[in-house]
C-alpha cells in the first residue's frame, strides 16, 4: 500500500464509518455502532502514525489528488482546483491529534452516551466531523480546506443541537453555525483575493509565487488577505469578536465539547494561520492585529471564566482564552509555539472536558460546581487526572502547558511582532487562568461534599437510588483520561524553552521548531529580512518565566485560600465588585449587545423591507400602476362620451391651447 493510498484511506475511512452508521446500522446494537465508529477513527490513527513517523519524519511531503474538482478557464490559463490532499509536518501533527484524541473520545463517548436513544446519529455525526476535520488539515488547497472548514461547522451545528428536542440546544447550534459563517466569509474573500493575486488557491503554488517583490507591490492586498483570514480564524477559533458561539456550544454532549470545541475544530484557525504564515508575515498590520486580537481574547475570556459556576462554561471560556494565547503566539511570529500550544491544549483541554464529562455523567447531568465538592474520594481517577489537566493548563512547571504557554508569552514580549504590552495582557490572562482553574478543581474535587442535598432536589423520584452512588466510571471512560493525562505531562517537552535547553546542555532548537522548520522557514526568513532578528535574551526569558510562574503560584494559592470554605468564599469580593461582578457574570453582556446592535436592527430592516419595501412600495407601484393606467384610460374613455357638447368643449380647450401656443 503506497503512501498516497494510505493518505486517502485516512481521509475516507471516517466518512465510510459515518455512512455506515448513518444509513446502514441504524437498527444495529449500540456496541456495533460504537465499535464501527471508534474503529473508523482508530484505523486512520494507525495509518497516520505510520505515515507521520515514517516518510513525514524523514522530510517528505505526501501529495495525492483524488479527483478533479473545479476547473474553469481563467484569464491566461486555467483555475484548476483538484480535490488534493497534502500531508506535511504541520498537518502531520494535527492528523495525529485529530485521530489520536478522536479515537480516545470515541471510546469515551461510547460509554458516555450509553443511555441515549438512536446513538447511531451521534456517531455518524462524530465520524463525519472527523472526516471534515481531516480534509481541513489535509487539504492541499484552500478550497479543500474550506470544505473541511465549513464541514466541521455543520457537524458542530448538528452535534451541538444533538438533543434537539430542547430548542435552546438547536439555537446554540444555529448560533455556532452563523458565527462561523461570518468568519467563513472572511476565508472566502481571502480565497478570492489569492485567486486575483496568484491565480491559484493551492498553498504550495501560492508559496512558490509569493516573492518579496510581489508582496511589497501588493502590500495592501496581502494585508487584506491577512485580515480576511483573521476574520475566518476569529469565527472558527472563537476569537473576539466572534467567540460568542463557543460557550453556547457547550449545550452539546460533553465528548463533543472535548473533541470539537476544545481539541480540534476550534484550533483550525491556528492551523490555517500557520499554514499561511509565509503570507501573513509580509503584512505587519495583519500580524499585529492577530496578536492584539489574540491577547485581548485571552484576557477577555479569562475574566469571564473567573466567576462562572457551570463546570462546562468555565472550561469553555478557558478554551476561548487559550485559543487567544495560540493566536497571540501566531500573531507575534512564533507560529511553532502556537502549534505547540495547540497540541498541548488538545491534550489537557480534552482531558479536562472528559473529566468534567465523567463528573457530569456520574452526577447525572448536574453541571453546577456549587453542588459538587469532595468528589476526589469517590472518583479518584477522574479527580487526579483532572488535577493533572489543571496543572498543565495553569502552566505549572514541568507540565505541558508551562512550556508552550511560557514560550508564547516570551515571544509576546520579544518576538518579531511582540510588544511588552502584549506580554502584560497575556500574563494577566494567565493569572486569571490559574485562579479560575484552581477554583474549579478545588470546588469540584476537594473540600466538603455538597452533593447529597442538592441531588434530592435536582432529580426527584427516579434518582433516589442513585443519589448516594456517585462512583468511578468504567474503563472505557477512564482509560482515555489516563492516556490524556500522560500526554498532558509529556506533551510539552517538544517545546522546551531555549534557556532551559541551554541549562540542560541541549544544543540547537527544540523539537517543535525543528519539526516545523520546513513549514515555517520561509516565514522566518521573511521576518528576519524585513523586521530584523528577534530581540530576546536568555535573561529576559528567565525573568519572564519566573514572573509568570510566581504569578501563577500566587493566584492558585489565593484561589485555594478563598474557596477553602466553599463556593461562598468569593462572595465578599463579588459584593465589593458589585456591578462589575454582575457584568462579568453576564459575560460582559456581549450577546445582548450583539442582539441589540446587530440582530434586532437587521430583523427590523427585514420586516421593513417586507412590509414597506415589498408590500407598500413595489407592490404599490405595480398595483397602483395599472390602477393609474385604468384611471387615465377611464378619463380618456369618459372623454369619448358620445355627447356632442363634450366634444365641443374639447375643441374649445384645444383651440385655446393652440392659440396660447401660437400667440404666447
Amino acid at each position: 500500500m503506497n503512501y498516497q493510498a494510505m493518505l486517502a484511506a485516512v481521509l475516507l475511512i471516517p466518512l465510510l464509518g459515518s455512512v455506515l452508521n448513518g444509513f446502514f446500522l441504524r437498527k444495529a446494537p449500540r456496541l456495533v455502532t460504537v465499535t464501527v465508529a471508534t474503529l473508523a477513527i482508530a484505523l486512520p490513527f494507525v495509518l497516520s502514525c505510520a505515515l507521520v513517523f515514517g516518510p513525514i519524519a524523514s522530510g517528505e511531503v505526501i501529495r495525492t489528488e483524488l479527483f478533479k474538482w473545479i476547473s474553469v478557464p481563467l484569464e491566461g490559463g486555467w483555475l484548476e482546483i483538484p480535490f488534493a490532499l497534502s500531508l506535511d509536518r504541520l498537518s502531520g501533527i494535527l492528523l495525529l491529534i485529530i485521530t489520536g484524541v478522536g479515537s480516545l473520545i470515541h471510546l469515551y463517548a461510547g460509554e458516555y452516551m450509553h443511555h441515549e436513544e438512536g446513538v447511531y446519529r451521534f456517531f455518524a455525526y462524530l465520524n463525519l466531523f472527523v472526516f471534515s476535520m481531516l480534509s481541513l488539515v489535509l487539504g492541499a488547497n484552500m478550497v479543500v480546506t474550506f470544505l473541511g472548514w465549513e464541514g466541521v461547522g455543520v457537524c458542530s451545528y448538528l452535534l451541538i443541537g444533538y438533543w434537539y428536542s430542547d430548542e435552546a440546544n438547536a439555537r446554540a447550534g444555529m448560533k455556532a453555525f452563523v458565527a462561523n459563517r461570518v468568519g467563513d466569509l472572511g476565508f472566502l474573500l481571502a480565497m478570492f483575493m489569492s485567486v486575483k493575486l496568484f491565480g491559484s488557491v493551492d498553498y504550495s503554488a501560492i508559496a512558490a509565487s509569493l516573492t518579496n517583490e510581489l508582496a511589497s507591490e501588493n502590500a495592501s492586498m496581502i494585508t487584506a488577505i491577512g485580515l480576511c483570514m483573521l476574520l475566518g480564524v476569529a469565527g472558527k477559533s472563537a476569537q473576539l469578536p466572534l467567540y460568542i458561539w463557543l460557550p453556547d456550544a457547550m449545550a452539546g454532549p460533553t465528548p463533543v465539547s472535548a473533541l470539537i470545541h476544545a481539541a480540534t475544530m476550534v484550533t483550525s484557525g491556528i492551523y490555517l494561520m500557520t499554514r499561511m504564515s509565509f503570507l501573513l508575515v509580509h503584512s505587519s498590520t495583519a500580524m499585529t492585529t492577530i496578536a492584539v486580537i489574540g491577547a485581548a481574547t485571552a484576557l477577555f475570556a479569562a475574566t469571564i471564566g473567573l466567576v462562572q459556576n457551570d463546570i462546562k462554561k468555565v472550561l469553555a471560556y478557558s478554551t476561548v482564552s487559550q485559543l487567544g494565547f495560540m493566536a497571540l503566539g501566531c500573531g507575534v511570529g512564533a507560529f511553532q509555539y502556537g502549534v505547540a500550544h495547540l497540541m498541548t491544549h488538545a491534550f489537557f483541554k480534552a482531558l479536562l472536558f472528559l473529566g468534567a464529562g465523567s463528573v457530569i455523567h456520574a452526577m447525572h447531568h448536574e453541571q453546577d460546581i456549587r453542588k459538587m465538592g469532595g468528589l476526589i474520594k469517590k472518583m479518584p481517577i477522574t479527580g487526579w487526572t483532572f488535577v493533572i489537566g489543571t496543572l498543565a493548563i495553569i502552566g505549572f512547571p514541568g507540565f505541558s502547558g508551562f512550556f508552550s504557554k511560557d514560550e508564547i508569552l516570551y515571544y509576546a514580549w520579544s518576538g518579531t511582532f511582540g510588544h511588552p504590552l502584549l506580554w502584560v495582557t497575556g500574563a494577566l490572562a494567565a493569572a486569571c487562568t490559574s485562579f479560575y482553574m484552581v477554583r474549579l478543581t478545588y470546588l469540584v474535587f476537594f473540600g466538603q461534599s455538597r452533593v447529597e442535598h442538592a441531588h434530592h432536589h435536582g432529580h426527584g423520584h427516579d434518582d433516589h437510588h442513585h443519589s448516594h452512588e456517585i462512583h468511578e466510571n468504567p474503563w472505557t471512560m477512564t482509560l482515555p483520561l489516563v492516556l490524556l493525562a500522560v500526554f498532558s505531562i509529556v506533551g510539552g517537552y517538544v517545546s522546551i524553552p531555549h534557556a532551559i535547553m541551554h541549562v540542560l546542555g541541549l544544543e540547537g532548537d527544540n523539537a517543535i521548531t525543528q519539526w516545523l522548520y520546513p513549514v515555517i522557514s520561509s516565514a522566518k526568513e521573511v521576518m528576519k529580512a524585513v523586521h530584523g532578528d528577534a530581540h530576546g535574551s536568555a535573561a529576559l526569558e528567565w525573568g519572564l518565566m519566573g514572573t509568570s510562574t510566581l504569578v501563577m503560584l500566587i493566584m492558585s494559592g489565593f484561589a485555594i485560600a478563598l474557596y477553602k470554605v466553599g463556593p461562598q468564599g468569593g462572595d465578599a469580593y463579588a459584593q465589593a465588585a458589585g456591578g462589575l461582578y454582575r457584568l462579568i457574570l453576564d459575560k460582559w453582556r456581549i450577546d445582548e449587545l450583539y442582539q441589540a446592535v446587530i440582530i434586532e436592527p437587521l430583523k427590523k430592516v427585514g420586516d421593513g423591507f417586507f412590509k414597506f419595501g415589498d408590500r407598500a412600495v413595489i407592490e404599490g407601484v405595480i398595483n397602483e400602476g395599472p390602477r393609474g393606467i385604468y384611471l387615465v384610460t377611464s378619463v380618456l374613455s369618459d372623454i369619448q362620451s358620445g355627447l356632442v357638447r363634450n366634444y365641443l368643449k374639447l375643441v374649445f380647450v384645444a383651440v385655446v391651447a393652440l392659440g396660447a401656443w401660437i400667440f404666447i
Binding site: Q640, S641, L643, L648, F652
Partner: protein
C-alpha cells in the same frame, strides 16, 4: 381709440363666446342649433369687420357664403331633429351616445 371694425372684431369675439357657451351647456339640440347660428353670425361679423379693416371686399363675399352654409345647416339640422324626435321622442343631446368609447 379703436376704429369701428376693430370694435366689431371684439364684439364678434364676445358673441362667439356666448354662442359657444350655448352649444356647450345646453342639452336641447334646438338650442344648440340656435347657438350655432350665433356662432356663425359672430363669424360673419368678424368677416365684415376684417373686410373693412383691409379695405377689400372678399370678407363680405365669404360672409355671403357662410350665410348659405348656415342655411344648409339649418335645413339639414332641423330635418335631423325632426327625424330624431320621431325615433327617440326626445331632442336631448345627451340621449345620443352612439359615439361613446
Amino acid at each position: 381709440m379703436l376704429t369701428l371694425p376693430e370694435i366689431g372684431l371684439y364684439f364678434s369675439f364676445l358673441l362667439f363666446l356666448v354662442g359657444l357657451a350655448g352649444v356647450m351647456f345646453r342639452k336641447n339640440i334646438l338650442f344648440m342649433m340656435v347657438s350655432v347660428e350665433i356662432l356663425l353670425n359672430a363669424a360673419n361679423l368678424a368677416f365684415v369687420s376684417a373686410s373693412k379693416i383691409t379695405g377689400t371686399i372678399d370678407g363680405q363675399v365669404v360672409m355671403f357664403f357662410v350665410m348659405a352654409v348656415a342655411a344648409c345647416e339649418a335645413a339639414v339640422g332641423l330635418a335631423l331633429i325632426i327625424a330624431l324626435y320621431r325615433t327617440k321622442a326626445s331632442i336631448e343631446a345627451d340621449d345620443l351616445k352612439a359615439l361613446r368609447g
